[in-house]
């Protein structure tokens, strides 16, 4: 017999007052928003009927089997991601990591060997064997290898060539193209900063001008667009802000307007986040948007802000967890954008990442947990790990392994990185 669970925010009497007000002026935007709200209301009423006394449950078993299978086999529906296979590795491995499901050594080794086949002879990683290097699969591959954290994994990365690749996509104005002959947007700066920092190959000139270019992406709304002039967007805002944090320049942003913008992106009715103002909620923004709050908290703290909360990130943690657990889970495993959408590994990764952020505030010393539903819903705490000695900054993976043995391996290999660093020639690029 389950004990009475604390009341869910979405079942409170006043919740319906949070429905979108269209002021009697209907447009495409208001119609779409109301459609989504109706479908969410449907989910809530079904949930209330079925689960009168039980608590929201993370479907761990189902997600685990979905992920385990996907790591090996994918249907032909995934042909459209044939140029993003390192992403599939990363989304799946990070999801498993959040669920605290270990990856068998044999599988880990197979992933290493596959990613090695995705590494380009000219440096960086591509979407699949024989494809050209691209910053996005490079980011994904390096992250995936860091999650595996074995010596074999770290050894896959050709750091010298990676540096060559980064220089080959660097632009005079400080930005980066995603691949040779490719497009520019702020994702590339984040991918470059992330992999360069993780592998400790940042040279004095590599990011010349980059922070200024990123700053020019912050617009009148307070968020960042993909390139200067564009509408503020959650994905690009995360990439730009996180890149600046890695570069140590986040204080140069207008943090106040950014904070206002991102907190305004949480949907009052749904509880999840939208990517842009007046657009629809989407589970993946649980990470891209909510993930900004820990970054901003840290940035503001570094500026000397003494009025920050000591118990919570500046968003409604319970509401986000409700949205993810009640509206974004596929009963057969995997997570998704919103009710009615199909599951996929991208949404699985970022819904779980957002869930972790909502559950955990703080760090090892000061930790405030808020687990909605059963205790078993608790995910790995993905905290931002900034050790000056190790130069390891991971925003989407946890550097703190539960197993001390794995911690030793990862720090040991990081020391190896630092030693190898001295062997890299700083030629004048």
């Amino acid at each position: 017999m389950e004990e009475a669970s604390p009341p869910l925010r979405c079942f409170s009497e006043s919740h319906s007052s949070e429905l979108f007000s269209d002021d009697g002026v209907q447009t495409v935007t208001s119609r779409e928003q109301r459609k989504v709200e109706r479908s969410i209301q449907e989910v809530y009423s079904v949930y209330q009927q079925i689960h009168t006394s039980s608590q929201p449950t993370l479907l761990r078993e189902q997600h685990y089997h979905y992920l385990k299978k996907g790591l090996r086999h994918l249907s032909d529906a995934y042909e459209c991601l044939d140029a993003s296979r390192p992403w599939l590795c990363y989304w799946i491995l990070h999801s498993l990591e959040l669920l605290e499901e270990p990856v068998p050594a044999a599988v880990a080794s197979d992933v290493c060997q596959f990613l090695a086949r995705c590494q380009s002879p000219t440096g960086g990683f591509s979407g699949g064997p024989c494809q050209h290097a691209h910053l996005a699969p490079t980011y994904a591959a390096v992250n995936a290898l860091c999650i595996l954290g074995t010596e074999e994994a770290y050894k896959v990365i050709n750091r010298e060539k990676l540096l060559d690749f980064l220089y080959s996509v660097k632009q005079p104005d400080g930005s980066f193209v995603m691949h040779v002959g490719g497009e520019v947007d702020v994702r590339s700066a984040y991918c470059a900063a992330s992999v360069a920092s993780l592998t400790n190959i940042i040279t004095p000139t590599l990011f010349d001008g980059t922070h200024n270019w990123i700053l020019s992406c912050q617009n009148w709304e307070g968020g960042l667009g993909g390139v200067p002039g564009l509408e503020a967007h959650g994905g690009y805002t995360f990439c730009g802000t996180a890149a600046l944090v890695i570069l140590g320049k986040e204080h140069m942003l207008d943090l106040k307007t950014l904070l206002r913008w991102v907190t305004s992106r949480q949907m009052r009715f749904e509880g999840g986040f939208q990517g842009r103002c007046n657009k629809l909620v989407d589970g993946c923004y649980s990470f891209w948007q909510a993930g900004l709050l820990p970054l901003l908290h840290r940035a503001l703290f570094k500026e000397g802000d003494s009025t920050l909360s000591v118990s919570s990130w500046m968003f409604e943690r319970k509401a986000l967890q409700e949205y993810i657990l009640l509206c974004c889970q596929n009963p057969g495993g995997g997570l998704l954008d919103k009710p009615g959408k199909s599951r996929d590994f991208y949404h699985t990764c970022y819904c779980l990442s957002g869930l972790s952020i909502a559950q955990h505030f703080g760090n090892k010393d000061l930790h405030n947990e808020l687990i909605l539903g059963r205790d078993e819903n608790r995910l790995l705490n993905v905290f931002i790990f900034l050790p000056s000695r190790h130069q390891l900054i991971q925003f989407t993976t946890s550097a703190q392994r539960r197993s001390p043995k794995r911690l030793n391996i990862s720090t040991g290999c990081l020391f190896q990185f630092r030693q190898n660093l001295h062997q890299v020639q700083w030629t004048s690029h």
């Binding site: 994918l74 993003s84 599939l88 590795c89 596959f114 009148w220 842009r276």
Partner: protein
């Protein structure tokens, strides 16, 4: 960008997993007899004109991961593509194959890159290519590669004459397509095509006053033409925005725009604005109105404006923050409480402000969400 996997350079909507058992059954059936012709379609490996080229199978290694169950057609086309790439072949047949490969996976940036190499090497008709890319974008408007390809062709032709109309056509199907707006802004800036854009933006806002992309475009155009420093322009924009706000007071975009354009000058410095906004309060209680007043009061405090009673500004700001946190905008409770504490800390009487009713904070270094690790 509504398909969020696009942020990772892939398009993935409505993906469903088949059972592994199902896949094996299909493969087994196909292995029973070789049929080179399937409904008229001939695999490249069986075509006479390709007989000289040995297909290159994908090397996934002995124990593949994230292995996609490619269709036979997919495998055939890409095996041949890899062969062309390996030989660096620059021919008509190679060009034709890129079309097939793109059709199977328009997100394969390696194929697009190769197609561009061929377009130049074979001196292909770029007008034809424009027709091609137009059709592809119509079909898959949320893909990065197709828009980048179009941009390259426009650059090579140095001809933007079709672009604004084309983007308008795409926007008529999805008024917020992020790639479309990006392309539009690039064309306008590159070729200095600013005429008529403000009118276009107003048309879009007529259709949907909540179209945030259109509001952004409004800012983009004015920024790059007249700018906002001219007071007659700023006046015009404030009046325009207030008009839209009155039509739909719960439209966040309009409020954000109002705030955005007045940031530099200061909200409290704009004559008559406080009056106009408080007047609106009588007819609507939108949380955005309340937030705007908080912003205005905060600006008055920040600028230490003599036009306002500082104590009154302070009290009202705190009152509204509390109202928002506890009643009107509870989803942002944490934020409004933070704003309140910040205001008290900066402009208050001097008593230290605690972050919450929680126990007193531990030593300040541990308030950081990151930390130095202990030595291994």
């Amino acid at each position: 960008m509504s398909s969020v996997e696009e942020i990772s350079n892939s398009v993935a909507e409505d993906l469903e997993e088949d059972g592994v058992e199902e896949e094996n059954t299909v493969e087994e059936a196909e292995m029973e007899y070789e049929e080179p012709v399937k409904g008229g379609y001939i695999f490249y490996r069986d075509r006479k004109e390709w007989a000289d080229l040995e297909p290159v199978p994908q090397d996934d290694g002995p124990n593949p991961v994230v292995k996609i169950a490619y269709s036979e057609k997919f495998t055939d086309v890409f095996d041949m593509f890899r062969a062309l790439l390996q030989n660096d072949e620059k021919s008509e047949r190679a060009f034709a194959l890129t079309t097939e490969a793109i059709d199977l996976n328009a997100a394969n940036y390696t194929v697009w890159h190769y197609r561009r190499v061929l377009l130049q090497a074979l001196d292909k008709d770029l007008r034809e290519e424009m027709k091609y890319i137009t059709a592809i974008i119509e079909d898959q408007p949320k893909n990065y590669q197709v828009w980048h390809h179009r941009r390259m062709v426009v650059e090579w032709l140095n001809d933007p004459s079709e672009e604004l109309q084309f983007v308008a056509e795409i926007l008529s199907q999805d008024a917020k397509n992020y790639h479309a707006w990006q392309h539009r802004q690039w064309v306008m800036q590159e070729y200095k095509l600013w005429d008529g854009e403000l009118e276009y933006v107003e048309e879009l806002l007529e259709e949907d006053v909540r179209n945030n992309s259109a509001w952004n475009q409004r800012h983009f155009v004015i920024n790059h033409t007249s700018g906002y420093s001219d007071s007659s322009i700023l006046d015009r924009e404030v009046q325009y925005t207030l008009k839209q706000i009155k039509k739909a007071p719960h439209n966040e975009s309009a409020w954000n725009y109002l705030n955005g354009i007045l940031q530099d000058g200061g909200l409290s410095s704009f004559p008559g604005l406080l009056e106009q906004v408080t007047e609106l309060q009588d007819t609507c209680s939108s949380p955005y109105l309340t937030a705007f007043l908080v912003d205005l009061y905060e600006d008055a405090l920040e600028t230490n404006s003599s036009s306002y009673d500082q104590q009154e500004m302070f009290n009202k700001a705190l009152e509204l923050c509390k109202f928002l946190a506890e009643e009107k905008d509870t989803i942002r409770r944490e934020y409004w409480n933070y704003v309140s504490r910040s205001l008290q800390n900066t402009y208050g009487s001097g008593d230290p402000v605690s972050a919450s009713s929680d126990p007193p904070p531990p030593p300040s270094s541990s308030q950081l969400p990151d930390m130095e690790p202990s030595d291994p």
